[in-house]
Each structure stands twice: as structure tokens, then as C-alpha cells.
Subunit: 114 residues, 2 copies
């Protein structure tokens, strides 16, 4: 037993709750791109450098399950599937914007340091 004592999880957990949803290299960026509007599966893929179809599918399913993204399938051939932010997802926009703004400032600082 080296596990540290636990006595106040509630404090700070909201941060974790949010991060859990937008975690993992892709979700935040997906949300970022969907802010601008609806995108089809491959349109989104093209905006996410290096992601595989498998990963994109997985991340979108998780975002959908979290209620942040909506998926609309058009019954046609060739298939057409559109992804967009749900109301809950749009409520995250200020958070995504904060992440983006800070990231930009940080990148600028790093560039200047070099």
C-alpha cells in the first residue's frame, strides 16, 4: 500500500470529468473542427492529420455516446454521413476556444524562444 489517502474527490473532479470527454489526442480537435459546421466522415478525416479510419470512427462513436456529437445517416448510395455538434457539444465551444487560444499563445512563445 503506497496508494495515497483519499478524502475529497469531489473537489477538482469536474476538471477530470470534462477532460475525460475531450481526452486523447483527437477528440478535442474533432470538436474544434465541428464548431464550424457539419462535416462528413472523410471531410473530417482530411482535417485530422494522420488519423486512421478506425480511430476516427472510434472517437466519433465515443463523442456521440457522450452526447456531444450528432450523427446523421442518409440512406443513399454512395453513403453519406454527417457529423455535427449537439446542443451539449456547442456548450463546450467556449472551453475549446480557451484551449485553442492558450495553445496558440503557447506556440507563439515557444517560437519566440527559438
Amino acid at each position: 500500500m503506497t496508494k495515497l489517502r483519499a478524502y475529497d474527490c469531489a473537489v477538482g473532479c469536474p476538471v477530470e470529468a470534462t477532460l475525460d470527454l475531450i481526452d486523447g489526442k483527437w477528440k478535442g480537435v474533432i470538436l474544434y473542427h465541428l464548431r464550424e459546421g457539419t462535416l462528413r466522415f472523410n471531410e473530417l478525416g482530411r482535417r485530422l492529420t494522420g488519423i486512421t479510419q478506425r480511430m476516427l470512427t472510434k472517437q466519433l462513436r465515443e463523442l456521440e455516446e457522450a452526447g456531444l456529437v450528432e450523427r446523421v445517416v442518409y440512406a443513399q448510395v454512395p453513403p453519406k454521413v454527417e457529423y455535427s455538434l449537439s446542443a451539449e457539444g456547442r456548450s463546450l465551444e467556449p472551453v475549446i476556444a480557451a484551449l485553442a487560444a492558450w495553445g496558440e499563445a503557447r506556440i507563439a512563445r515557444m517560437a519566440k524562444a527559438a
Copy 2:
């Protein structure tokens, strides 16, 4: 080759840049707790339900290397080590606050839905 084409990484990457730094279940929460002031190693540990010493050490080292957290060692027995936000870390406060605020609202919504 199923990897999707890449042609505009720069867009949205700031989000990823930020998330990379506060990623992984603990860092965001650590930053959250350090907002309130300097904390010693075990004080911090007690606030992070279920974290092991190994993990806490690792996360703190990474935050330190990212320049977000400062570590001050007092040459005494028993040891005393204090952690606090650096200036760069403090610049993240609005972001952490946004994450926390949204998380709280989300948790409240979920509670009401049940």
C-alpha cells in the same frame, strides 16, 4: 494505407497542443489544486483520490518539464518539497476554470436527468 490524407494540420492543432500538456487523468486536476497555492507532495497526493506515489511523481515531473509547475526542495530532514504553478502555469488558470465550470454544469445536468 488507410491513413487519411493530411493537408492542414496547423488548423486546430493548438487545441491538441494544450491538451497534450494537461492530458491523462491527473494533470488537469493537479493544476486545478495548485491554483489555490503551494502544496507539498503528500498534501497534493491526499487531494487526488487514488493516485499512487509513482504516478504523482511522474505527472509532476512532466508538468515541471512543460514549465507549468515549479518544484522547490528544502534541504532538511524530514524532506520538504513544495509545488506551485509557474507564471506559465498560472496563465492556464482561465482554461482550467473553463474546464471546471463546464464539468460542474455537466454533472448537474446529469444529476437532474437521473
